[in-house]
Amino acid sequence: MRTRNPNVVGGLLGFAWLLVILVPIYYIVITSIRPREDYFSSNPLSIPSEFTLEPFRYVLENDFLRYFANSVFVTVVTVVAVVVSSLMASYVIVRSRTRLARFSQKLFLMGIAIPLQATIIPIYYLIVQLGLYDTLWALILPSVAFAIPITVLILTNFLRDVPKELYESMTVDGATDLQMFRRLVLPLAKPAVVTVGIYDALQVWNGFLFPLVLTQSSEMRVLPLSLWAYQGEFTTNIPAVLAAVMLSALPILVLYIAGRRQLISGLTAGFSK
């Protein structure tokens, strides 16, 4: 049926959207390898007369690696803290019937519906009071809190499908809570942990509002904020600004090439189930 009657209109619209998607991306790539002098004189979408990696060198010489390292640190610490605390909470929520467990479940479910970004002012106040303003911890602590509700939801949905007998056989062996967690829950939940970990990591990696409000010095700058700062500093060097844009997307591109399926399921975690 399909092959005999191909969807021409659909195909054309699909192609049009492809152009819409690709032109800006082509522009980013082509400009990041365009010589600086060329930028002001040539058609922005033309293929440059010569290629250069100078914009990349310029960005790397301007502390890009420090911002990158800051982003990696914030992302890794946040994701580990979110996943461990959420998995422990999910384990209790699924396995225990105490009042606190049921209350926590409701609380986290409600947390998903609240646009928490709007609480930035009291968060700023809190961070200043704790003496954490302009540190990477100022980014990590609220990021962990904001990621917990959705992470708990996804992990509880997953753990619910684990047969009860598995837990019970371990308990008969006299395992403690922590042993159960390490030897049973963590390995069992691994696929869900990877998915939700990717989701959380992307949120933190791309986050802009917390760094903007909660940090100030260039020592504490993370990648998204550094792009903004570069744009302000390199006003006449757009190729370098776009080279930084390219470099900031590189880790996610690597992830996309290495594990497309994982990345997509991570991105849509909890929403497409």
Partner: protein, 319 residues
């Protein structure tokens, strides 16, 4: 299962009905194997201190005057009155409503159609889908900065083609900037929503299409009679994310226009940021935050109510 989900009831007398006894012993077993509550502590502590406390804090701060540096002082309803008398904020409310509505009108049909397109297993569609993903590689900051350069009136798109309609000050013209933002927002978010729809369409049983074909339904009728009703839950999820998302959207707009030119793109989240962290009026900024939270919460709870109650059940049936 329902019996096991409620906590073990206090049973004063022993050994009544045999069935009752077995239910009780089952409950006791699962209680014995259940982890203790302390494992909830880290998640509750993080969420309590850095999400719930600020949530309460923002309500409290909306009744205070604070410049961001000193100590907040109680001010009653001053901030609330000033916010509802401030033409900039009132305009921001109007813009936010417009932006939420318009970006939904643009994004919803695009994502739905693209998702359906991407769900096809034709070679070219799978190749297209790989490329459709690309905007998702970029953070909002990266997207904003790239488009700012691309839409530059002197060195950007306006010089790329010899066409008058492209020669515009896309982000600098008060009439155009708002619509330009909606286009950039769509570029950056439609890929995500179309992924949701792609997954949704692929879960629709093939037999339903086969039956529709036998009934003589063409492509368009299949879309409206099979695809669309089957996507009900995806539509609710995606629409909730779209609406609440554009209500609270900040990053891209901040980078692309900063609310300008004038106040032409100063939507509520931006108004909150600028009022709080540029004008140092944390009281009024907190009022705006409370409004944002309330509207966002109502919107997502309302949309969930439309289909939410039976959502879990039908998903379990499908599994």
């Amino acid at each position: 299962m329902t019996a096991a989900q409620s906590p073990a009831p206090p049973v004063p007398r022993e050994g009544r009905a045999p069935s009752r006894g077995s239910a009780r012993s089952r409950a006791r077993t699962s209680l014995r194997t259940a982890p203790s509550n302390w494992m909830l502590a880290p998640a509750l502590a993080f969420f309590g201190i850095f999400a719930l406390l600020p949530l309460a804090g923002v309500v409290v701060l909306s009744f205070f005057a604070w410049d961001g540096l000193g100590t907040p002082s109680f001010a009653g309803f001053d901030a609330w009155v000033s916010v509802f008398q401030n033409p900039v904020t009132l305009n921001a409310m109007k813009l936010t409503f417009l932006m939420t509505a318009l970006s939904f009108v643009v994004q919803f049909p695009l994502s739905l159609l693209l998702g359906t397109f991407m769900a096809g297993h034709q070679r070219y569609r799978e190749a297209f889908s790989v490329l459709y993903f690309l905007p998702l590689l970029f953070s909002a900051a990266a997207t904003g900065i790239a488009f700012k350069a691309l839409l530059d009136p002197n060195f950007g798109l306006s010089r790329a083609f010899d066409a008058d309609f492209l020669r515009q000050d896309w982000l600098g013209s008060p009439n155009l900037a708002f619509y330009t933002l909606i286009m950039v927002i769509s570029w950056s978010f439609v890929p995500f929503h179309s992924l949701l729809y792609q997954a949704g369409v692929r879960q629709i049983p093939k037999s339903m299409y086969e039956a529709a074909t036998l009934d003589g339904a063409g492509r368009t009728r299949q879309f409206f009679n099979v695809t669309l009703p089957q996507l009900k839950y995806t539509i609710v999820t995606s629409s909730t994310l779209m609406l609440v998302g554009s209500l609270t959207y900040f990053d891209l707009i901040f980078i692309l226009t900063g609310g300008g030119p004038g106040n032409a793109t100063r939507v509520l989240p931006l108004d909150m940021y600028l009022t709080g962290f540029r004008s140092y009026q944390m009281g009024p900024a907190s009022v705006i935050a409370v409004i944002l939270i309330a509207v966002g919460l109502l919107l997502s709870l309302g949309l969930n109510k439309v289909s939410g109650a039976d959502k879990m059940e039908s998903q379990m049936e499908g599994a």
